[in-house]
Symmetry: D2
């Protein structure tokens, strides 16, 4: 365990007396008994620490977001590949039972074609000094979206404002465009009177409501939707039919996400396999955040996304 603040290290050591401690990260990286490190530090330090760890031959798990810029993220990916080390990003939600269930419902085709992904993540939250609310909160939604949606984003339009003089935006709205008529949208807000964590996913066959604040029944699947009559006999005919059917809340795996995630990291290290939340997914998320921040600064101007690094879900 390494922390530059002595008192925090002491307090952590008291809880886990078996773990050796140091305030010098170099000692950690130089220790040949250490195979892998987890980096949970301010975003601005992710790049430097992860790079040094990789250069020292360690496998690395980095807290979200992977890095403070896509250039840094790309550099880390290259280093990990050159060294043959596992580089994993801590997109925690991907390891929850809820998101695993959504991913499986999407990929199995049970929802049909995906029409939209709409999430709201708001509450009275801590205003960050160094980043806007997109970097802090939307990263969660973008990482979930990246994991569950089959197609890749093409462009972003975002809006938002700051309510603190000289501060970063504390409320933001992101629209993500895809190749087809799939659309994604996120609302993130540090200044809401109530806590909301709700995602709607609309498909041509079924639709999902994912409410992360529900103690159980986080995922509800609605057998509702529309059926489009593409060949109406007359222009005056109704083109759209409506279905309202049953609702179903599947039992979810209740294992703690961090436990699943850490076990997965260890497994990837031991077997040399690619993590579910590999560095490429970390890069894709950082690129979206960069684009959204740029769009927000230009009051919604559309920002096209470059071709992503690495084929997705190959």
């Amino acid at each position: 365990m390494c922390d530059r603040q002595d008192d925090r290290l002491t307090s952590a050591a008291a809880r886990y007396p078996v773990v050796a401690t140091t305030t010098h990260v170099r000692q950690l990286f130089e220790n040949p008994d250490v195979d892998a490190v987890a980096i949970a530090t301010p975003v601005s330090t992710h790049f430097d620490l992860a790079l040094r760890a990789l250069q020292a031959g360690k496998h690395v798990l980095v807290e979200k977001p992977l890095a403070a810029s896509s250039a840094d993220a790309l550099r880390l990916i290259e280093e990990a590949e050159r060294r043959g080390r596992v580089l994993m990003v801590d997109h925690t939600f991907v390891y929850t039972g809820a998101v695993q269930k959504i991913a499986s419902l999407v990929s199995s085709g049970e929802l049909g074609d995906i029409y939209y992904y709409d999430s709201v993540r708001v509450n009275l939250g801590l205003f960050q000094h160094d980043v806007n609310v997109i970097w802090d909160l939307a990263v969660h939604d973008l990482s979930i979206m990246d994991h569950v949606l089959p197609s890749r984003p093409r462009a972003v339009s975002a809006t938002g404002v700051s309510h603190v003089a000289g501060g970063h935006e504390n409320i933001a709205y992101l629209t993500v465009f895809f190749d087809n008529n799939l659309i994604a949208h996120m609302h993130v807000n540090w200044l809401a009177p109530v806590k909301i964590r709700r995602t709607l996913i609309g498909g041509s066959k079924r639709m999902i409501v994912y409410d992360d604040l529900e103690p159980s029944e986080k995922i509800k699947i609605y057998d509702s939707g529309i059926t489009v009559n593409s060949r109406p006999e007359s222009v005056y005919q109704m083109l759209v039919g409506y279905r309202a059917g049953d609702m179903w809340a599947p039992r979810l795996d209740a294992t703690e996400a961090l436990k699943t995630e850490v076990a997965h990291f260890v497994d990837c290290v031991e077997r040399g396999t690619k993590p579910r939340t590999d560095a490429a997914s970390g890069l894709r998320v950082v690129r979206l955040v960069e684009a959204a921040s740029a769009s927000m600064a230009a009051r919604g101007r559309l920002i096209e996304l470059d071709a992503p690094a690495g084929a997705k879900r190959s």
Copy 2:
């Protein structure tokens, strides 16, 4: 009562046997015993019918939106002013106890400076053939926003897509910018698995959650928020303080909104006064919808709004 469909007229007459009926609107307009008319027809006919009614010297109440274009709306305003007739638009929500309470909380300063207005109006709704979802649903939110917010919108950025080939957009997101750091946002959607009617209004002193689906307690006022320390002694000091206080749900006037609205219309006609939802508010809403539709077609491009017709809240 006038309806071009004979069977609908017959069925309505059976319920209200005392009311005379006709299938020819001309007979209505030419009848000297008729002082005022209410127009509840497809949007595309609003302009023509309202104009003829005004030209026949009637006072007019038009369903929302006032007209299919701001040019038409402007022309109706001019005609009403020239004739000295009342022209009122049916922004029904303005007449609910909930919106009246919000308006009074905002104007009394109880919320402090208004930071944001965020509304979600989604459900599995009827796909309209002639207009997009903004014309159908966002009109409600824009009319509420127009009524309760003290400042005037300056620009709009909107995104959305259609999931029916050849159809109008059935999901849309609008951001409305104001002169200061106030921001408004609306999410409207005909293709949601659940019905949501929720508006968050954030102020520097207090914040409101307005949930129109609550049978009672539609308005909740949170004595929560942030306090910004504008003169920190050092750049490293915390700039933002947090308050989490009581919540309060005031008892609301439960009178049916339509009843209040119609009584108000009659009162304005009899006393020659300007309605709470006058034609100028109808025009402002139509301009916002036009701008939002244009922005949506250009994937979020910012559309500046011209100076609005008529001073607001003078």
Copy 3:
């Protein structure tokens, strides 16, 4: 249409101009064109009016409860049988999509053995002058219970108090015992700050939550429960296993209950068949209410129920 109050009759006639009216019920009963009557009057008049209608050869639908005493209810049943006329009681909830679904889930065995039926029906309601809260509210729950449960009640224990000097009990709790370990309980209350309409039904295989205030999803079925190991290998072994599975909210028939009920009444009259809510069910409910009121007066003393009139579900 017959009403002794002239003004109410006039107002009703205005809405339904085609219906003939009278203030003398004798005229109604003597009219040979009238085949059937619906009686919606104060409870104390049910017996007299229904009896006269039956004696005049009419088929009769009586609002709940069937009569003010079980003796009266029994007398009505005899008269209807002697005359060969349909006598139906207006247990409205039995005709809702929700209760029909519950009945079908119970009778199909999907819930397994029924363990308990627990309902809460409370709100700030009108204090009745002539009857206690059991006669007013619990009748609904008893009629639902009577319809969906397979076994017959054997005894009742009830408690309650009045908070108005000289008034009837405005809060009451009923426990209904059955032959086996099935237990039913009802909480009814005119003096609650919030409205609750929730019934829990526990079975050995599945359990139901029926919340009548939910706009949709009134019925939720939980694949949860316990499994009892009846032959543990040792006394220290765990005897009870737990299952927590999926939840499922079936789509319900949304037809208005009164519409279904009236159509059923007409059908029974035309075909001479026994209604789903026949007079025997009306009598069973009245007997339970009588027993519960007696138990409540004696602060929970157990009241055994006599053998019910007429075999149930034969």
Copy 4:
């Protein structure tokens, strides 16, 4: 720290390495450095362990319920008084911000006269082998009721059944009678498909809904109720008027209840004062549980309560 199971002791010691451990409780009691002990063991052992601790001169905090019988509880009270030691029972909920707020609202008269106390505490819970559901769950509600209500219970009627052959009752309903028209009722159930923790408290001026599962807003106060006209001008006049007013959710102290409780215990020990949840309150709760269990075995038979030990709130 003392535990007869070696492995549990080892695991606890690893988390709190500074605490000395033993598997022999005698060593604990004989240790002169130990001033006070907390007993968190099966109910059947409370009496013996607490008695020995008191006899060894220790101050004692016992988990709820205080003892397995009122005779045992009484004996412990006598021992504590003779030795001049603090004997406190762990009625944890009394130390929550929510219950403290309720107690203050009741005692300040803000609710007016208290009409009823109604609580529901149900979920799919662990079936206990040695006690029925009243001993396990209703103890919580009885201890809250004991703390917040101004009057003392006079009699109990309870019903319930077991759904496991040879097992204790897993579902139970308790009615508690008081001198006046105050009534209390509790529903406890180990076999419910959903978790409910809701208490309604009705007063002549205001009413409370206390929902312990709400993350915030656990307490809602309704300015609703009835006003009784005690001198109607005629017997046909309406005797009861209705008020429906604002709702208010006060901010609650969010300190962890156990932390408050332990600090209070230490304070009582140091200052020699009587705890808020003293042994007399523990005895009152045990007496109610005993009476309710006896009533339940006799299917609701009313059990009168003897005069309680020690004046309440003197």
